[in-house]
């Protein structure tokens, strides 16, 4: 996108803040990956390596009162919503101070007060739920918006289609996205759908859609801003397809031998952090020394988080029995 356009449409401080979160996301996830390789994290680890611009871009475009029903490669959204690196690491380590108190692992965390729905493994299950939150906003005449999405794989689920259709029929203030990273686990896009672009799936519901460079945080941010503004203005849902590439395996145990190396080499050049740095330089908002400074700062933040998480106690076995039923729903 034209640098002049970006300079005009995105405030300098917003761009710099997004750069911070790109860095923080990568630092947190790199640390999680390292802990996983050391055998200190059990369970699955799915990262957004190379795709950080998506969650950082869309979460930055939302207002505080808006709601996010994130995807499993949306670490940036959790961080932007105030989940600290310490809490995130406590979650991965199964600690009681983690957002799900050890009841669930990895990116499966949520908090209604912070407007983040807990991720459900069953891909696309949260899309109808997100539409329902948007329904509540519309029924009460609130100008709040919901942002939710899934991968190219998840877009084959019935719930994806049921949610899009329902939102379109009722013109709900929800923005759907798909991170098209070209693979669902090992399944390439051509075996997932017989159409080249996921965005075409939105047409069936009469929903406007757009293809966006998912590696460019500024593009993601602007596309999200426009879709959110439309939703807020009562114009109904829209769909954004973020084109990107999954740079790590499906999870950290997967070497992803099924992905051609040349493809990865090609996408490495489009790394979202690299792209953001080029943009910041072009706009005169930052340069190498500054980038190093940010990298150092987030690294320290993450190390403090690791320390906090490691020193926190694990839950006690009998805590498994707590919380099956809610005693009250007054808080919401």
């Amino acid at each position: 996108m034209d640098v002049a356009v970006i300079a005009k449409e995105i405030k300098r401080e917003d761009l710099l803040r997004m750069y911070d979160y790109l860095r923080l996301t990568r630092a947190v996830e790199d640390r999680i990956t390292a802990l996983y390789r050391q055998g200190r994290i059990v369970g699955g680890v799915y990262t957004s390596y190379g795709m950080e611009a998506i969650a950082v871009g869309y979460a930055s475009a939302l207002e505080r009162d808006d709601v996010i029903a994130p995807f499993h490669r949306d670490m940036g959204a959790f961080l932007i919503r105030g989940f600290t690196p310490g809490e995130v690491l406590a979650q991965y380590l199964g600690k009681r101070v983690g957002p799900s108190k050890g009841k669930d692992g990895n990116v499966h965390m949520g908090d209604l007060r912070r407007g983040v729905f807990g991720f459900v493994s069953h891909l696309a299950d949260n899309l109808p739920v997100a539409a329902g939150a948007a329904l509540a906003f519309k029924m009460r005449g609130e100008s709040r918006v919901v942002f939710t999405g899934t991968g190219d794989g998840g877009s084959s689920r019935g719930d994806f289609h049921e949610a899009m259709n329902f939102a379109a029929v009722r013109r709900l203030p929800v923005v759907f996205f798909c991170n098209n990273n070209q693979y669902a686990y090992s399944t390439p896009l051509r075996l997932q759908m017989a159409i080249p672009n996921v965005v075409d799936r939105a047409k069936a519901y009469g929903m406007p859609g757009e293809i966006v460079d998912g590696n460019d945080v500024a593009e993601v941010y602007l596309a999200a801003k426009h879709a959110i503004a439309k939703a807020r203005a009562g114009e109904g849902p829209s769909f954004l397809e973020f084109k990107t590439m999954r740079m790590h395996g499906h999870s950290e145990h997967d070497p992803a031998k099924y992905v051609p190396r040349e493809l990865l080499e090609e996408w490495k050049k489009k790394d979202p952090i690299l792209k953001a740095e080029q943009l910041l330089k072009q706009l005169g908002y930052g340069e190498e020394a500054y980038f190093h400074e940010v990298a150092d700062r987030v690294k320290k933040e993450v190390e403090a988080g690791v320390e906090f998480a490691e020193q926190s106690p694990l839950p006690e076995g009998p805590e498994v029995l707590e919380g099956v039923f809610a005693m009250s729903a007054d808080s919401h």
Binding site: A69, D104, D125, P128, V129, L135, D159, A163, S328
Partner: protein, 328 residues
């Protein structure tokens, strides 16, 4: 409490509960297929659209998973959705949303999901394999859900009101066979039947029949004919299947020392199987005979009249089982 002078059907009791809760709490709204202008397949919401408007009586697309999911989201945002399954059988399409999302959200990350799914269930109406099912067993096994199954207009109204006010996802199994067949007068005041409390519908000393839904009426019929033979049945109506009122079940069986478990859901892995196991664990010492289960065979619900009659439990099954138990 003052009683209404007119008799109210089980169906009207459900309708009254919805109407009163919608009037009492503006957060309560309805979702489902054909519930608006048409008033629902069984006409439970007839007139509601005119009274409450299209944003509180939402006709949905034909997509159970989608609208149950939407109800979950709306519930988490502070509303109190009541979803109608046109027939309980179609709840299988929403199984994933119910068991994976609604049931687990509070446990996983503390989000309460205050919603109700009304599921018209049960046979005896020649609905065949897809319109007669009793799917409670699927959900009985899924932690995080409350399940209720009223047998009378009073319970139907009071349990639905309690379900709507409960902070958890509740599946409300309303029996289609009872809709227009069972009538009674109701209190004029607001009342609820608390979730998790069974009701002894007939006090007796010899044998406990533990049951719910339409089968309660079968058990009461059997009790009446057995009374002439000097066999005194106690009929325990579970009303709520989850959480299960174990105290009332144990108290009854400790008194009678004999138990028949009766339900309309298939036998294997049903609610009765669980209660039989609980009785073996907790009441073994006081049992004077085998625990007997009366339930349909493990087949889908058939269509043709003789087949459905064969399939469904009958009063004579209860009488035979009770006579057998009486000899111990």
């Amino acid at each position: 409490m003052a009683q209404s002078t007119e008799e109210v059907s089980y169906l009207e009791a459900i309708s009254q509960a919805l109407d009163e809760e919608m009037a009492r709490d503006e957060r309560v709204f309805l979702m489902g297929e054909d519930i608006g202008m048409y008033g629902g397949a069984f006409k439970i919401t007839e007139g509601f659209l005119q009274k409450y408007g299209e944003w509180r009586v939402l006709d949905t697309p034909l997509a159970e998973s989608g609208f149950v999911g939407a109800a979950i989201g709306a519930a988490m945002m502070g509303l109190r959705p009541v979803v109608e399954m046109q027939f309980a059988d179609f709840i299988s399409c929403a199984f994933d949303q119910i068991t994976e999302v609604a049931a687990k959200n509070h446990y996983r990350w503390g989000a309460a999901v205050p919603m109700v799914i009304r599921a018209p269930f049960g046979g005896g109406v020649h609905g065949g394999p897809f319109h007669s099912e009793c799917p409670e067993g699927w959900f009985f096994h899924s932690p995080g859900l409350k399940l209720v199954a009223p047998s009378t207009p009073y319970d139907a109204k009071g349990l639905l009101k309690a379900a709507i006010r409960d902070p958890n996802p509740v599946i409300y199994f309303e029996h289609k066979f009872l809709y227009r067949r069972i009538k009674s007068t109701l209190p004029q005041e607001d009342f609820v039947v608390p979730l998790g409390k069974a009701d002894v519908k007939r006090i007796g000393n010899d044998i406990s029949v533990i049951t719910y839904g339409a089968m309660v009426h079968l058990a009461l019929e059997a009790a009446q004919s057995l009374a002439h033979e000097g066999i005194d049945l106690e009929v325990v109506d579970l009303r709520t299947l989850m959480p299960l009122d174990k105290e009332t079940i144990y108290a009854s069986v400790r008194k009678t020392s004999k138990a028949i478990l009766l339900h309309e859901d298939n036998k294997t892995g049903g609610v009765g199987a669980e209660i039989a196991a609980l009785l073996a664990e907790e009441c073994f010492d006081c049992l004077d005979g085998p625990v007997i289960r009366i339930a349909p065979p493990d087949t889908p619900v058939p269509f043709s009249t003789p087949l459905e009659e064969f399939f469904l439990p009958k009063t004579s099954d209860i009488i035979a089982a009770a006579r057998k138990l009486a000899t111990y």
